[in-house]
């Protein structure tokens, strides 16, 4: 096998496994993290298939989520806020401050 083929299978299986983790995990924080891994390895697969433009767009559009509608980064913030994925001690404190952030960002 060539180097490209080996890398393709590595990134392909990582993408599949982490996609499985996204739906199978109970902790939403892990799901969000696994989703980032999925997107990154998908982008690597696109790059290996010879389309660097789509590979980069994959990261920019989903990873960066500049429009703040989709994007795992937003998802992560939202989960910290809504699902209380963090420890109880800091939860209420952060919830209150994050509300202010959201209004600030808008």
């Amino acid at each position: 096998m060539t180097l490209d083929a080996i890398l393709f299978y590595v990134f392909g299986s990582v993408a599949l496994l982490s996609a499985l983790v996204v739906v199978a995990q109970r902790n939403p924080m892990y799901s969000a993290f696994a989703l980032i891994v999925t997107l990154a390895s998908l982008s690597a697969v696109f790059g290996l298939l010879g389309s660097p433009f789509i590979a980069v767009l994959q990261v920019i559009v989903y990873g960066v989520g500049a429009v703040k509608l989709g994007g795992p980064r937003v998802l992560m913030n939202w989960m910290i806020r809504v699902l209380g994925a963090i420890s109880h001690r800091t939860e209420t404190f952060v919830a209150a401050t994050f509300e202010r952030f959201v209004t600030d960002v808008r």
């Binding site: 980032i36 660097p52 767009l57 920019i60 500049a66 910290i80 952060v94």
Partner: protein
């Protein structure tokens, strides 16, 4: 050896050289920053270790190596350990596509002073540098500490607001040069200082300067680690070499922003006047100019308040960048 093996060998050598160059630059920068900042504040700064204190980074490094690594109670072990690694990897990755010079002839071979010449060079930098915020957010979350979490959240919100302006500030250059490749954008500026982009794309340059400072989390945009409110922000709980990794990621990010600025707006390795030859030395000069500018800012400006930061990003920088893109696009169409 076959042609592919040779190409692979050259690539590996380039990776090793660039990596160590960046590591060296990082450690020198920690010393330079402390010294320059000290002089700006009428102090001396670290001047005891070696001549002029130049060995201070070595002493710091040795000290950090031998410190105890602390993982706080209730922290998420895996992510706590992974976060600094993620931050460093994304910071270094962006430098891979930034050219340091044209081509040089070494051992009878043409070698380009750039690790990977991607067709989507600028976009690649954009994608990778914006991924770097995950390292910070994860570090903030995994530490199980309210100050780190606040730092992480601030960092995420700040990146949202300034990334857009940063990306838009490059669009004008891309339109002018007609290419995403950084080398093409540099080549477009050939002919002397009056052809450089910082004159013809002055609004974009100002936006890049401000948004780049915010992107590198430098003063006056260092809200994620505001000492007065957040102890040390997202890296409060880190100690020993993990703390050093966090610092490294930050400095490499700053170097990336400065190097990219030198390439995109100051003609990279091109000489400012036609009668002097182009050389990588020009690039290094411009790079250090950019780095000095960052330190200068830190010695001069106080920190923004959070709502001011958001207002400025969305209500000033973004419209200016948009307007610049529109004007440039119109100019490219009307005066080809």
């Amino acid at each position: 050896v076959s042609a592919t093996q040779e190409a692979l060998l050259i690539a590996v050598i380039k990776v090793v050289v660039l990596f160590h160059l960046l590591l060296g630059l990082f450690s020198v920068m920690t010393w330079v920053e402390r010294r320059v900042l000290a002089f700006m504040q009428f102090r001396l700064g670290p001047n005891r270790t070696g001549p002029l204190g130049i060995l201070q980074p070595v002493a710091d490094g040795i000290k950090l190596f031998f410190k105890e690594e602390v993982i706080p109670d209730g922290a998420h072990k895996w992510l706590f350990v992974a976060a600094p690694g993620l931050a460093v990897v994304t910071a270094f990755l962006a430098m891979a596509v930034v050219p340091w010079g044209g081509t040089v002839t070494l051992f009878g071979r043409e070698v380009s002073l750039q690790l990977a010449e991607l067709d989507v060079g600028v976009l690649f930098v954009f994608a990778v540098s914006s991924l770097s915020v995950y390292g910070i957010v994860l570090a903030g979350w995994a530490s199980n500490n309210k100050f780190t979490l606040m730092g992480g959240l601030r960092s995420a919100a700040q990146m949202f607001s300034y990334e857009l302006a940063l990306g838009l500030s490059w669009v004008g250059l891309i339109l002018l040069a007609g290419s995403f490749r950084i080398t093409d954008i540099v080549a477009y500026q050939a002919g002397g200082i009056w052809n450089w982009n910082f004159i013809w794309q002055a609004p974009a340059f100002v936006v890049y300067l401000v948004a780049g400072t915010a992107e590198a989390n430098r003063t006056p945009f260092d809200l994620p680690e505001a000492e007065t409110e957040l102890v040390a922000g997202f890296h409060t709980e880190y100690s020993s070499m993990r703390f050093a990794l966090m610092q490294m990621a930050e400095y490499v990010h700053m170097i990336t922003i400065a190097a990219l600025g030198a390439n995109l707006f100051f003609g990279g390795w091109l000489s400012p006047v036609p009668f002097l030859p182009d050389s990588p030395a020009w690039f290094v000069l411009k790079l250090f100019g950019g780095l000095f500018f960052f330190i200068w800012l830190r010695g001069t400006l106080p920190r923004f308040r959070y709502d001011q930061l958001m207002d400025f990003g969305w209500k000033v920088l973004l419209p200016v960048a948009m307007l610049n893109v529109m004007l440039t696009a119109a100019a490219v169409v009307l005066f080809p």
